[in-house]
């Protein structure tokens, strides 16, 4: 209901311009790299204590003192800062009602608190919005791994009629129609804007947003302090939880492998979809591999305590429910008639209630928002950011389909 009001409000914006939030006439994009990056030869280069370590075959998976997987960096401070404005600007959506941040809200772990995300259509879609923390280290994107770069990924929601519902033509027309954006793109790509009639290009839009996304680094949790050698960073119960996590009984770390807490593989684990929803075949569709039916990308668990509900369609409301899934028995939630190649690490670990509680304790030590970016208070489009004021459709119910609308 509130969403409808909000949309009405924004529909009115062009005719009642005094409602718009005036941006300053002149803006300088930041020349400083975001925290976690060193400015070097015009680029922002990632810096982390994890760069003291190696990993086997440079795979970026291992144990405590293990090097990071391959990552994206090297964007300019201006590109990153421009991406920040674009990320929060609802002018990127077809009807101006949602921004990237609507589903990837910094105050909600760069997710949206929903089991299944809601775009311009107002209807819950098939899957949940993954957190964007540490996407710089991801090699594949979407739950079904169908994109191999941030630039490719973002074209999914931008142009999906149910998500942001714009088009390349509309996006360029909109941005080029806003003088302030042309000026900001000029600051980010001065070489490309020497000619007076130079216009904003799509690849610049994608690069800027990717630059901002790749700056969202979370590697300073209490777990990380423990990993770097500070034994007192974790409490006794949290260490117990860590040992359950990496034990070969719970086997969490076999797929959620440090330091990113994902091995970036596809796994068929047989989690349930919301009741009444058709079975989601996941990566078998996108990779053309029938044995991956029901397979999804292993998500990173960093900042996982901030991103309830859990699993690809948000079936589990809490971390406790999510971890309890793994002790429910191999294939216990697979719908009748589905013959899935369930991952070999899904077995019957017979974890006790105490062990499940300790696992949750440990997962909460992976929270770190110390590099959370500042959210712009005004936007180059003159619009107000919508991700916190737009009518949120409320928490999804257990079935993930209905909400409090």
């Amino acid at each position: 209901m509130r969403r409808k009001l909000a949309r009405t409000l924004f529909a009115l914006l062009p005719v009642v311009p005094w409602l718009a939030f005036a941006a300053p006439a002149e803006i300088r994009l930041s020349g400083d790299c975001p925290p976690g990056f060193e400015f070097s030869a015009g680029q922002c280069k990632l810096r982390s204590l994890y760069q003291m370590y190696d990993s086997l075959e440079n795979s970026g998976v291992g144990g405590l003192k293990t090097g990071l997987p391959a990552y994206r960096d090297g964007f300019s401070p201006q590109q990153i800062d421009l991406g920040r404005y674009l990320f929060f600007d609802p002018v990127l959506s077809g009807d101006g009602t949602v921004s990237c941040a609507s589903c990837h809200n910094p105050d909600l772990g760069f997710s949206d608190g929903l089991g299944r995300s809601v775009g311009v259509s107002g209807q819950p879609m098939r899957r949940s919005a993954p957190s964007l923390w540490n996407v710089a280290f991801q090699q594949r994107f979407f739950w079904d791994a169908r994109a191999s770069s941030l630039e490719q990924q973002m074209q999914g929601p931008l142009y999906d009629e149910n998500e942001m519902a714009t088009s390349p033509e509309q996006l360029l027309r909109t941005l080029n129609g806003i003088p302030l954006y042309r000026e900001l793109f000029r600051q980010a790509w001065p070489q490309d804007f020497r000619a007076a009639d130079a216009v904003i290009r799509l690849d610049q839009v994608y690069t800027a947003i990717a630059a901002f996304q790749a700056s969202l680094i979370s590697l300073n949790s209490r777990y990380d302090q423990y990993a770097h050698g500070y034994a007192d960073a974790l409490t006794g119960p949290e260490k117990e939880g860590m040992n359950v996590f990496r034990s070969f009984v719970a086997r969490c770390a076999e797929c959620h492998t440090p330091p990113l807490f994902t091995n970036q593989q596809i796994a068929v684990i047989g989690t349930p979809d919301p009741e009444g929803m058709a079975f989601d075949p996941g990566a078998s569709e996108t990779l053309g591999e029938p044995t991956l039916r029901g397979g999804f990308k292993v998500p990173s668990l960093r900042n996982v305590a901030l991103t309830a509900p859990y699993m690809h369609s948000g079936r589990f409301a809490t971390l406790r429910e999510a971890v309890a899934f793994y002790t429910g028995g191999r294939g216990h939630a697979v719908p009748p008639g589905e013959d899935l190649k369930i991952h070999w690490h899904i077995w019957e670990p017979k974890l006790s209630d105490e062990e499940l509680d300790r696992l949750v304790d440990f997962l909460k030590t992976l929270t770190d928002e110390s590099f959370k970016p500042v959210q712009p208070r005004w936007l180059p489009s003159g619009r107000q950011p919508v991700h916190n004021i737009i009518a949120r459709t409320g928490e999804t119910h257990q079935d993930g389909a209905s909400n409090d609308e």
Binding site: D32, P35, G36, F37, E38, F39, R47, S48, L49, Q51, M52, Y53, D54, S55, L56, E57, S59, V61, G62, G63, L64, K65, T66, L219, N220, Q225, Y226, H228, G229, Y230, A231, D232, K239, N243, R246, S247, F248, V249, A250, A253, T257, P258, Q265, I266, A267, V268, E289, T291, L292, G295, R330, K341, I342, H343, W344, I346, W347, K350, S370, F371
Partner: protein, 504 residues
Amino acid sequence: MNKIAIIAGAVVLLAGGFYLGKSGQQPATVIKVDSEPKAAFTSSGAEEVAGAPAATVRSLVTPTSGELIVVKEGESIQDAVAAASPGAVIKVMPGVYKETVYIDKDNITLSGVIEQGKYPVLEGEGLRNDAVLYSGNGVTVENLYITHYKGNGVMGQAGNNFIIRNNFIVDTGVYGIFPQLGKNGIVSHNIVSGIEDAGIYIGMSDNIDVVFNQVFDSVAGIEIENSRHALVESNFVYNNTGGILAFITPGLPIKTCGDVLIRNNFIVDNNHENFAIPGSLVSNIPAGTGVLVMACDDVVVEGNIINGNNSVGITFTDFSLAGNAANDPDSEPNPNRPRILNNIMQNNGNDPAPKVRAFLAAMLATTGPDIVDTVGMDDGCILNPERFRTIGLGKYTECDFATTANVASYTLPEPVPARSMEDVDKGRLAYYGICAGCHAYSSRMIGPPTQVIQALYMDNPEGIAEYAAHPVKKRPDYPDMPPQSHLDDETRLAAAKFMLNVTQ
């Protein structure tokens, strides 16, 4: 196993591209004397370890500092680990210890004291998960008797330069010994039995020797998985479902397996009923399997005594064996370049497991072969093929080398070094990786600008390091600084020095 499953198994093997050509024809015996010596064995791993003086072969040791901690019955081994500094030797006296020991430090020796045959016992009581977990580099685990854990006996996660030796591991969960994601390690002289997956399991590791172990009454004896440069030598492996395995498991982040030498082992009577966990990869192993190579490349099977394994002596195959796992489009399924050198094989295939029997029935055979290649690789080689009953080796050629003896060990002549600290500017990483979350050079963030701190401290990095460890409130208009005592003194001081020299 029910009939449908048997038929399904046969169909899977056939559909997987089984090579039937010439399988019924055995090569004629040719008696000859080589006039030219054969070439030396070469591999990337062989080059890596070449030139190591004999005295340095497998000479890896855990560095010690002289610190000694003795643990007696009634005390906690973990308390000793918590108190230990890198280089410490923890000696555990005979007795029963009911705990999980985890070692997240470098260069720790965890060593049982054996008195008149009595070992210190780690007792899991069927309740505890793993007996020993280590993540540090340079860890030794030796002289322990480990039993009744739910998970693994000894489990490593990413530790390099490890030594796991002289342990008894009895009736303990999933894997007896499982180093994972480590480089340069030795697993030797362990006696492992009653394991429902692999007794000794080398997972995603490089440069590992598995030597002089006794492994029995388990589903898989010794398994090398998604690893490179592994030597499996002089082990006694009997009465398991399968003896020695080299696998690619699909769906893991490190996708290759190769340069594995299975040499001079006793692989005898591995006919145990398969009691693996449903869904596990090893639940697919037919009882009576001697050596099984699935998708792993450049495996040499040399000089083993392979005797009395009721299904097949040596099997080379692809993922068609693992019908219960999802495929991984990024994993190459074929066991490329198999090499088979002068094994002593007798009495194999006498009573094939149902899955194998169904497979043989398609070829009107009832006895399992000494050697089968279910793919029919065309890049394999074998010496003296006429000595063996084989299936699927029609395209194998004669190997151009006769021995891998020039590789005494696949462990490295020198330990894997910690990443060279000359290349790593700890202060820079800590400043940008941590401090910069609150301090920008010239603008106010959560904390005061770095420029302001530089003006205050000038030539006093120690002052910054000390303040950062124990901050007190100085500025009413700023939030409290969280203590940075989680960083060790050296890192904190390096960050402070770096902070004083930042110019932008």
